[in-house]
């Protein structure tokens, strides 16, 4: 009979629960209805580090004791405040909690690591974001607009003759660089003006050509190398693609979560309100 009793599952269950509650009591002692503030080793280290950061030295023993005491008392105040319901409707706490939720969502989003196929698809769907501008390596010689119409035209003619004779043209002194190595079109535009940079695309390479006009006058240019703009290969922009994908993923996760919340919660607006356009709002009497 006793054997049957001892094999009874309900008894096992009760026995286990007693054990668990007893163990809890032992591990979390409460004396005479007092509550306990546990200042862990990690917490003490943290307090010590804070002190050191502020005062640039280790705390003396009584200073550390003081810091621990202050921390513990602060914890007590917080618990009492929560017990009194002071955290409810507090705007600052509310903001902080909302921020923490946002951080959680961000962390969740970051945990989602895209597969190579996903990255490739995103890259090709957004190819226009990953274009590179044309790059040029070239020499240039300036015939300054400051020479004035007649002088400039004459000088241009002389330089064109030199080019025909297989000689390099000669120009006027300027602060413009005479030689540029693989420079992006927009960078060239910043120094010479946008028109000049665009015109470089239209002239032949590997020979002296010109005149090409800029705000500074007329130039003869010798383009050594030209790299056309195009969509940059995935390997070179992988970081940017990944970063952009994560941004989109983050936004999607946020939106989805909001939808879930709206599905789970009902919004009830009290008071004599006109018909709301939001379908989820239910009216109720004040």
């Amino acid at each position: 009979m006793l054997k049957k009793l001892f094999s009874e599952p309900l008894l096992h269950f009760i026995f286990l629960s007693v054990v668990i509650f007893a163990a809890y009591d032992v591990l979390n002692p409460q004396e005479n209805g007092q509550q306990v503030i546990v200042v862990s080793e990690g917490r003490v280290t943290q307090l010590s580090n804070s002190f050191r950061d502020r005062w640039s030295r280790e705390p003396f023993p009584q200073e550390l004791e003081g810091a621990i005491h202050a921390y513990a008392v602060n914890e007590m105040f917080i618990r009492e405040a929560i017990a009194l319901g002071l955290d409810v409707d507090d705007q600052v706490i509310g903001q902080r909690l909302r921020k923490k939720m946002n951080y959680l969502l961000e962390d969740l989003a970051e945990a989602n690591i895209p597969t190579d196929e996903v990255v490739k698809k995103f890259y090709s769907d957004n190819a226009s974001k990953y274009r590179s501008t044309p790059h040029y390596s070239f020499q240039q010689v300036l015939l300054s607009a400051d020479r004035g119409g007649q002088g400039l035209a004459e000088h241009l003619r002389i330089q064109q003759q030199r080019i025909q004779q297989g000689l390099a043209p000669q120009g006027d002194q300027s602060m413009l660089p005479g030689d540029l190595e693989l420079t992006a079109q927009d960078q060239i535009g910043r120094r010479f003006g946008a028109g000049f940079a665009e015109d470089l695309a239209k002239v032949e390479i590997q020979q002296w050509v010109g005149p090409v006009t800029s705000v500074y006058g007329e130039h003869f240019v010798f383009i050594r190398e030209k790299q056309s703009g195009g969509i940059r290969p995935l390997e070179t922009v992988k970081d940017a693609v990944l970063s952009d994908w994560q941004y989109e993923n983050n936004k999607t996760l946020e939106r989805d979560y909001e939808q879930q919340l709206l599905a789970r919660y009902t919004i009830v607006v009290q008071g004599a309100e006109p018909e709301s356009t939001v379908p989820m709002m239910k009216k109720s009497a004040p």
Partner: protein, 637 residues
């Protein structure tokens, strides 16, 4: 025999080996030094930036309605498109290379709280009225903002409010972290430099004594400190307290920073004191030493008026009256009187600095110069054709040019008087915080009113006319002399005059150049200071007369109906070597370059053409944009 042969072979081998090693060694050495860019210590590029921009985090910007934060500011500066607070899309014609977001440290975080109406704001009657004014929007919001600014400058803010938003409070710390982390995020060495900085907003009784502070350091250092404020009890409006903060920052924390002031023209004479300071102090040895140590730079031009020169102080300079603000102090609680000018303008300060150096041994006003916007829109726009104004209330609109900007019982500053200025060009060898900061400290910088003309300026004793035509003009400059911001000292007993080399190239996006000038200031043996303007290179082959002036004006091709102009006048580049014809080796002096463009339309004309704005008769319609370099100083000792 065999031994001898072997020895001979060894000897030959040794000779050949050492010979080839020797030549290989020198080849390697030559190869190491082949690339000029990699082996030069001197500054090779000019980097453009705005040294003074505010975002919605600044107490006044936020209340004017600015909804854009540091991220948007950096985005625009780097060339991206941003939607301005007023709704227009805006983009710079060209990106900047660096930016200092310098939000006001006083009352950090209050703007968003006033907008929200947090409990502590509503608990105070004055703050509550600001919240209500802001909620109403439009004119009421602007009035509330001005009231807040007025209380701030007159130091009549409610005590509790000040304490809630001061160093030590959570809100203050959170905003500072935001500023620092945003700068860190956008700082990309080599591509774009985002400095960590702030504005120390000293404006006692409306007297503008503002300083900006720039940190050379990264976030790790910046987050160890809390920036200083100016409202008592924790803050002070006395620059001495700022210097103390800087001493602590460098001494205790090991950081590096300096401060730079702006808007002497709104200080009613107190920006550059020579006898007594605003805070009842005295200009003595300690004052000049501290000021020289902590303020190596000055913001010479910005939206609230150009600060180089004033016609009252420089009656011989026909270009001195440029974008002049002379109504009064910052909140027009005190009007301007002529005796005040002496303590307000950069050229005069440079001169008075020579006097104080003679008296106390240190020159407190030995600063390099730069330009900035001080815009409160988060948009660093300084181009006439793309000017988004000082605050969000004066972003492009049909009425912004016609309405007063600041008004008090005593006077008004008109909307059309705002200046679409300026930027700073820094000569450095790379685009990093360290390289640009160091360049500002050694004063190899120049300020412009917006356009990005390239200007080189060298001073020495041996420049000659041919140097300016050489292809390695810059190498010659550094080799034979010192760049802008540098010092020349007496050459023994020689009376030989210094020579200077200047080269200026127009901004491809702006107008041709009218002329390049060198402006000299000096201290004579009677203790009096003088100044003189010399034209050193002028366009269109105009003649420079025996007095060093080209009085013929360059002309004006501006078409006010279309807001365009023609570059048929002026030159694309100007360069010269010039020697001082009135040099006296016993007289301490300084020389700086001013470059003038041909006339171009002011921003108000673009408002008229694009938006149909009605411009008051008194509004200036054209102007000659300009650049000011840091000076080169000559000292007889």
């Amino acid at each position: 025999m065999v031994v001898q042969k072997t020895l001979l072979h060894m000897a030959i081998f040794a000779c050949v080996a050492s010979a080839s090693m020797a030549s290989a060694g020198s080849d390697a050495d030559v190869a190491k030094k082949y690339s000029p860019m990699a082996n030069t210590a001197h500054a090779t590029n000019v980097y453009w930036g705005d040294s003074h921009l505010h975002t919605g985090l600044s107490l006044d910007a936020g209340l004017f309605g600015n909804t854009l934060g540091p991220d948007d500011a950096y985005r625009l500066a780097r060339g991206g498109k941003v939607i301005a607070t007023s709704g227009s899309p805006v983009q710079l014609a060209r990106p900047l290379d660096w930016l200092i977001v310098a939000d006001h440290t006083d009352l950090m975080g209050i703007a968003s709280d006033i907008k929200k109406g947090t409990p502590n704001i509503l608990a105070d009657a004055t703050a509550r009225s600001w919240h209500e004014g802001f909620k109403e929007g439009g004119a009421a919001a602007a009035a509330a903002t001005f009231d807040l600014i007025k209380s701030f400058s007159q130091m009549t803010l409610p005590k509790q409010i000040v304490s809630d938003y001061s160093p030590g409070s959570d809100v203050f710390g959170a905003v500072w972290s935001k500023i620092v982390n945003s700068a860190e995020k956008h700082n990309e060495p080599g591509l774009f430099t985002a400095f960590i900085g702030f504005e120390w907003t000293s404006v006692p009784q409306g007297i503008n004594l503002h300083r900006n502070v720039i940190l050379r350091d990264n976030a790790e250092m910046a987050l160890k400190i809390q920036p200083p404020t100016t409202q008592p009890p924790l803050g002070s409006t006395d620059p001495k307290s700022l210097y103390q903060w800087l001493e602590r920052y460098e001494g205790e924390f090991g950081g590096q920073a300096f401060a730079f002031a702006h808007n002497g023209n709104l200080s009613n004479g107190w920006m550059f004191p020579t006898q007594g300071t605003y805070h009842d102090g005295v200009v003595d040895e300690e004052y000049v030493t501290q000021r020289a140590k902590w303020e190596p730079h000055y913001e010479i031009t910005q939206i609230k008026g150009d600060g180089e020169a004033h016609p009252y102080l420089s009656p011989e300079d026909e270009f001195a009256d440029y974008e002049t603000w002379e109504v009064g102090n910052l909140d027009i609680s005190q009007l301007k009187t002529p005796e005040m000018y002496k303590g307000e303008y950069a050229r005069e300060a440079l001169k008075q600095g020579l006097v104080l150096e003679a008296r106390f041994g240190t020159n407190p006003y030995k600063f390099g110069v730069g330009g900035a916007t001080d815009s409160h829109t988060s948009l660093a726009t300084a181009d006439e054709n793309n000017f988004f104004g000082k605050a969000t209330t004066v972003e492009p609109s049909k009425t912004r040019a016609g309405e007063p900007f600041v008004s008090s019982k005593l006077g008004t500053i008109e909307g059309y008087a705002l200046v679409a200025s300026g930027y700073t060009g820094i000569w450095a060898h790379e685009n990093t915080r360290a390289a640009l900061f160091d360049a500002m400290e050694r004063k190899e910088t120049y300020g412009t009113t917006g356009p990005r003309m390239e200007v080189r300026f060298f001073g020495g004793w041996d420049f000659d006319q041919r140097d300016v035509d050489q292809s390695d003009i810059v190498d010659i400059g550094y080799r034979k002399g010192v760049p802008m911001g540098g010092d020349l000292t007496a050459q023994g007993d020689s009376e030989k005059a210094p020579s200077f080399m200047v080269a200026a190239m127009r901004d491809p996006f702006s107008g041709n150049l009218d002329r390049v000038q060198i402006i000299k200031g000096w201290l004579d043996d009677k203790g009096e200071v003088h100044e003189r303007v010399y034209d050193v290179a002028v366009s269109d082959s105009r003649k420079i007369d025996g007095n060093g002036r080209a009085k013929e004006v360059v002309g004006n091709t501006v078409d006010l109906e279309t807001a365009t102009w023609s570059n048929s006048i002026g030159d694309t580049q100007l360069a010269a070597v010039w020697s001082d014809p009135d040099f006296d080796a016993a007289e301490p002096s300084f020389y700086y370059v001013r470059v003038l463009e041909i006339p171009t339309p002011r921003w108000v004309v673009y408002d008229k053409v694009r938006l149909g704005a009605e411009l008051p008769d008194a509004a200036e319609l054209t102007g000659q944009e300009r650049a000011y370099t840091s000076p080169i100083w000559y000292s007889p000792k």
